[in-house]
């Protein structure tokens, strides 16, 4: 593949400081070039690069920036650094080791969007990373890279880091906006989309950390050269977080369109000795699972969509053949149950009942009919809520039931044989001992 872009210098000692970042070409001629371009030309350049959002939905970055209305109103740029999709940990490494790359990307993106105020919303759990980013912001402000009339142009930008406090839903862009406004992080009805009415009702561009950090490189390389990396419709490189049953878990920068087998086996070393891949999530726990038979799929937006799943946040979670699919399904469902904000009934109740039914499967109280009920609950969540958190449980759990139905049924039978009373029904002797039958 072509050389690394985002990770090229990532382990360079001191890269988090302004000095070293500058020595590595940061805040150099490319920043001035971007800020001196006419806004429209910069947006066109971003569109032409083919850069698609790295946060989950994969929407064209340049197109989203072009939706920002013109004119003299308060506009905002918000960087989504909530990174709470299970399996994802690349923004953490990027912000911790190269925070200035994100800041430089934000300056350029804010200019493109005509925004003069910007915020980074970082998840509360990233306390160590928050300190590092905060330090970088202070350095950039002291050097005049953030503030009034940046590099002598007439573009000014305010930037603050905002720490969350532990809620997955605040990664969803409208939930994030509410949380940033100091409220409970409930998603909003769309439309209006944030580009029209976002933060404090003002036009707001929201982008993910990796999307923003890529922008300085696009300006430097030029859109054409960037678009030549990757495959059609999925240009550029992508950070993937590979974890679970692999020998070398970690973040890897790959060219989009690399076969998944090369990522899981080549880069991450595959599962342990004598084990095989049973199932894997290609894009975080919200993506429908694939099996060991799907390892030759090309890792890019469109090929994964064609395979019935999605690239999502670029987090590959691998489970080997020692894993029980029932356990994975239960863990997945429990997460979404806990994180549902409770605003929409299908999501709140659907995630709750899916957990209950999976617990029945485990305790031996379920029948195969419960699998059908679960599948229908999943169907009834999808597309029926303000945001897709419920869908994000329904799709992977639904895919597990569909692809591993035989294993679920066998599990139900075994659990029933092992525990004929189920967990909720104590044997008569126990009830007598409690005096419950007196």
């Amino acid at each position: 593949m072509t050389g690394a872009i985002l990770f090229a210098d990532i382990d360079e000692p001191g890269l988090a400081t302004l000095d070293v970042y500058r020595r590595r070409g940061g805040y150099g001629p490319r920043l001035l070039k971007a800020l001196q371009m006419p806004r429209e030309a910069l947006v066109e350049e971003l569109k032409a690069s083919g850069l698609r959002g790295r946060g989950g939905a994969g929407f064209s970055m340049g197109t989203k920036a072009s939706f920002m209305p013109k004119g003299q109103i308060d506009k905002y740029l918000v960087c989504n650094a909530d990174e709470s999709e299970p399996g994802t940990f690349k923004d953490r490494e990027l912000m911790q080791k190269s925070p200035h790359m994100l800041l430089e990307g934000m300056i350029i993106a804010a200019y493109a969007a005509g925004a003069n105020r910007s915020f980074i919303y970082i998840r509360g759990e990233y306390a160590q990373q928050a300190v590092i980013v905060e330090r970088a912001i202070a350095e950039a402000k002291a050097a005049g890279l953030i503030g009034e009339r940046i590099l002598g142009t007439d573009f000014s930008l305010e930037l603050w880091l905002h720490r969350g406090a532990g809620a997955y839903i605040c990664g969803e862009e409208t939930g994030l906006l509410d949380s940033l406004e100091g409220k409970r992080g409930n998603p909003r009805l769309k439309p209006p989309f944030p580009a029209n009415q976002g933060l404090y009702q003002g036009p707001t561009l929201i982008n993910h950390v990796e999307t923003l950090a890529t922008i300085p490189h696009i300006v430097e390389m030029g859109a054409q050269e960037y678009a030549a990396i990757g495959v059609q419709n999925s240009t550029g490189t992508k950070l993937v977080s590979i974890s679970g049953h692999v020998r070398r878990p970690g973040n890897y920068e790959i060219e989009l369109g690399t076969p998944a087998r090369e990522l899981i086996y080549g880069l991450a070393g595959g599962p342990g000795e004598g084990r095989t891949v049973k199932l894997w999530f290609p894009g975080g726990s919200s993506s429908p699972v694939l099996t060991g038979d799907d390892l030759d799929v090309s890792y890019d937006f469109d090929s994964l969509a064609k395979a019935g799943t999605m690239l999502g946040s670029g987090a590959i979670i691998v489970a080997d053949d020692t894993t029980s699919v029932v356990d994975v399904a239960l863990k997945t469902a429990q997460f979404y149950k806990h994180e549902s904000c409770g605003k929409c009934t299908p999501c709140r109740e659907g995630t709750n009942w899916t957990v209950k039914m999976l617990e029945r499967v485990k305790s031996g109280e379920a029948t195969p009919m419960d699998l059908d009920i679960m599948a229908s609950v999943c169907e009834n969540i999808i597309g029926h809520c303000l945001c897709v958190l419920g869908d994000a449980m329904a799709m992977p759990v639904g895919s597990m039931i569909k692809k591993f139905r035989g294993e679920f049924e066998a599990y139900i039978e075994q659990a029933r044989a092992a525990n004929p009373w189920g967990s909720g029904h104590a044997p008569v002797e126990a009830l007598e001992a409690q005096g419950a039958l007196a």
């Binding site: 509360g124 532990g166 999530f281 709140r348």
Partner: protein, 230 residues
């Protein structure tokens, strides 16, 4: 969060009665009034007016806390945006979002305590019950549990016992699945934690020492071969 009805995270005011099991052997944790949801079955006392914005004259606020909250408020076009940072600042000083902490934030931000409690109850890291000062989050999400996080949690719980100074919690994916199984000790990420290191980690948590210094995430090199320094 809101949809969580276990009564573990979603408390309302801080003065709820403790959680008890009503029926022997019952696994569901209940509040003393039998409800599984804090505050739900308590009738509102309509004879009292709802708490308004606390009177600044009669609500003493430590000077450093006031300064920190006012600094946050100045960052945003709408000062209400400072609610979460302000609550965290108060929690750092009081150990949890106690009624007193909430009143202090409310007095500085000119908001009602009810608004702030509603906000705080949404977020996992804001505590509405008194908890141990040292927070230990063990990730038990998918990747970590594939790598033995549930055993890690059970062993850590056993080692720490009922230490009132420690707030040991299951947590959702902490964004560090590359070091699974892992834990965050007062925000310091450590992992992968081997079974043989759990007793040592528990001791460090108890004594307030740095957790597993050789296993801290910040010192870890990237796994990507393309990332080696040139």
């Amino acid at each position: 969060m809101a949809a969580d009805v276990d009564g573990v995270n979603g408390g309302s005011a801080g003065d709820q009665a403790p959680i008890t099991a009503r029926h022997p052997g019952e696994s569901v944790r209940r509040w003393s009034n039998g409800s599984r949801v804090p505050g739900w079955d308590d009738a509102a006392d309509l004879s009292k007016p709802p708490a308004g914005v606390p009177d600044a004259a009669t609500t003493p606020v430590p000077a450093d806390l006031r300064a920190e909250i006012e600094d946050y408020m100045a960052r945003y076009p709408d000062h209400r945006s400072a609610a979460i940072p302000a609550l965290r600042a108060a929690q750092e000083r009081h150990g949890w979002c106690s009624p007193e902490a909430i009143d202090q934030v409310a007095a500085v931000m000119r908001l009602t305590p009810g608004y702030l409690v509603a906000v705080a109850s949404f977020y996992d890291m804001l505590e509405l019950q008194p908890v141990g000062r040292r927070s230990v989050y063990v990730c038990t999400n998918i990747s970590c549990s594939l790598c033995g996080a549930d055993e890690l949690y059970a062993r850590l719980e056993e080692e720490l016992g009922e230490d009132p100074g420690v707030n040991l919690r299951h947590f959702e994916c902490l964004g560090a699945c590359d070091i699974a199984p892992m834990a965050s000790v007062d925000g310091v990420y450590v992992g992968p934690i081997e079974p043989g290191e759990i007793a040592e980690l528990a001791e460090q948590i108890r004594t307030g020492a740095a957790p597993l210094p050789a296993k801290q995430l910040l010192d870890r090199k990237s796994a990507d071969p393309g990332a080696a320094p040139r």
